[in-house]
């Protein structure tokens, strides 16, 4: 199949489709500020989780969070561009800068071609709170300032990055809770596969400020293992007690094989499968059937069998119910294949809207460096995770094909499959 710019439409049943490759990635997360730092953290099984006393003072049940440093954008962006960006927009900008550089795409290229953006984001709490605080105090909307509206909309990332990079192709935000980033890549894949676009900036971003997670903390969904922050995120482990919120930005440049070849770009991988489903059940309780349908759809789309997958990057967030359901779903499709599984959320915490995109970046780094990052803190399985082949320690491995799961509130599920590129 390699070499031809087209492939059969897989499960879609629609003739020949364009092949979709990844030509650039960028990351800004609690594991590091660039691909090199993050790659090292993944290999070393390093946790990015801290205890934030400010959260405790504010009344959070859990003060645990991923720690992401504020990027310095002065010198990179003018004032107008900077003040429009909320926190997660800053992360997304840095990740996108790195991804475009990696892809060899410069401003001249963007000016001359119709490059799009499809990015996952599902909140922007801080500017909303700060704007309303000003309004309550001053009783005058104008004193909220000019930037607030552009920071608060859910589409803040796509509206800002499309302006900064002067993008002229498809341009909208995907909001699908914790599957936002994954669906953004999945939709980008379809836009290119069907010939609507040649190149799209995809990804996901997640804010991490004090205001962004209070209502999630209210659900008692977060781990309270505050005495051991770096041991608190323990997906699939018997003694897990909840997730840890985290954030950052992750960008994946998708391109048609024709476009990448024409540019002479380095191809990092090929997106070969996207599956999705909705549970059709409870707003926050997971199901097994929904993820299974998503997994099976992705395999059909990729025209692959379970045994063809070398590594699974699980969604597993370290919650009791979520991990158990995902373990059952993965086991029902992959138990016989004994496919290695790890959740990088054991190190990052749950990067929510960004997670589906960052986990593609993490998995691509593993693919290129030839290792599987560990599911740290996995000490004892429970009945469900015992059915999986969970990677406890960093393991050298030639990953030819990986699969990444993302699930979100409302029962939205997304599965992506990426294959190593070879001519």
């Amino acid at each position: 199949m390699s070499g031809s710019p087209f492939r059969r439409g897989g499960g879609t049943g629609r003739g020949f489709m364009k092949r979709v490759v990844i030509t650039g990635i960028g990351i800004y997360s609690c594991l590091g500020k660039n691909l090199e730092e993050v790659s090292k953290s993944l290999y070393e099984g390093k946790s990015g989780i801290v205890l934030d006393q400010e959260r405790k003072a504010m009344g959070y049940r859990s003060g645990l969070t991923g720690f992401v440093e504020k990027p310095v954008l002065k010198g990179l962006l003018d004032r107008r561009s900077r003040i429009m960006l909320p926190e997660q927009g800053e992360y997304a900008y840095i990740a996108t800068l790195e991804a475009l550089r990696a892809a060899g795409i410069d401003q001249d290229y963007l000016n001359a071609h119709e490059v799009g953006i499809l990015y996952g984001n599902d909140s922007s709490a801080k500017p909303v709170i700060e704007g309303i605080d000003v309004l309550r105090e001053k009783k005058d909307t104008m004193l909220i300032g000019s930037a607030s509206v552009f920071q608060t909309l859910n589409s803040t990332i796509t509206m800002n990055l499309s302006t900064i990079f002067k993008l002229r192709g498809v341009n909208f935000t995907i909001s699908a809770a914790c599957a936002s980033g994954s669906h953004a890549i999945g939709l980008g894949y379809h836009f290119i596969k069907t010939g609507l676009q040649d190149c799209i900036v995809t990804g996901g971003a997640q804010e991490i400020n004090l205001y962004s997670m209070g209502n999630f903390d209210a659900l008692s969904a977060f781990s309270v293992r505050e005495a051991e922050p770096q041991k608190a995120s323990r997906p699939f482990d018997r003694d897990r007690d909840g997730l840890i919120p985290s954030g950052g930005g992750a960008t994946v440049i998708l391109e048609s094989l024709e476009s990448a070849t024409k540019r002479g770009a380095t191809i990092l991988g090929e997106v070969v499968g996207y599956g999705f489903s909705s549970n059709g059940e409870h707003i926050s309780n997971p199901t097994v059937d929904g993820p299974v349908r998503s997994l099976e759809m992705a395999l059909r789309d990729a025209q692959l069998q379970a045994s063809d997958i070398d590594y699974i990057n699980a969604h597993a967030t370290s919650t009791l119910a979520g991990d158990a359901s995902e373990a059952k779903a993965i086991a029902s499709v992959f138990e016989d294949a004994r496919t290695p599984v790890s959740s990088t959320k054991s190190m990052t915490g749950h990067e929510c809207w960004m997670a589906g995109a960052s986990e593609i970046v993490y998995s691509l780094l593993m693919m290129h460096k030839g290792f599987m990052a560990p599911n740290i803190n996995f000490e004892n399985p429970d009945d469900d995770s015992a059915r999986l082949n969970i990677v406890k320690n960093t393991t050298e491995k030639n990953i030819n094909v990986f699969l990444s799961n993302s699930f979100g509130f409302g029962g939205t599920n997304s599965t992506l499959i990426v294959r190593k590129w070879s001519k």
């Binding site: 003040i83 004193l143 300032g145 000019s146």
Partner: protein
């Protein structure tokens, strides 16, 4: 009465800070829009910084008569001192 020199120094300082220009570039005869490179959105932020520094609200239409920094100083001086008298 607030002294005009004091007002000018304060204005130059916060404008330079907010709009990221050198204070030396702000001269009485200079064109506010051009020196500060203001677009339509920036005028809203100008209202905000004036309110934050002098505690009065500029009506957007007042900007139509403010062309130079000297116009700006005179306008602020008048507003500040009329507020003090009120």
């Amino acid at each position: 009465m607030v002294q005009k020199d004091e007002i000018i120094a304060k204005i130059n300082h916060f404008l330079a800070e907010e709009f990221e220009v050198e204070e030396a570039d702000i001269t009485p005869g200079g064109n506010v829009k051009e020196v500060l490179e203001l677009d339509s959105l920036d005028y809203i932020d100008l209202v905000v910084v004036i309110e934050n520094n002098f505690a009065f609200k500029v009506k957007p239409e007042d900007f139509t008569n403010i062309i130079t920094f000297n116009d700006f100083y005179n306008y602020v001086e008048a507003r500040v001192n009329s507020k003090e008298l009120a």
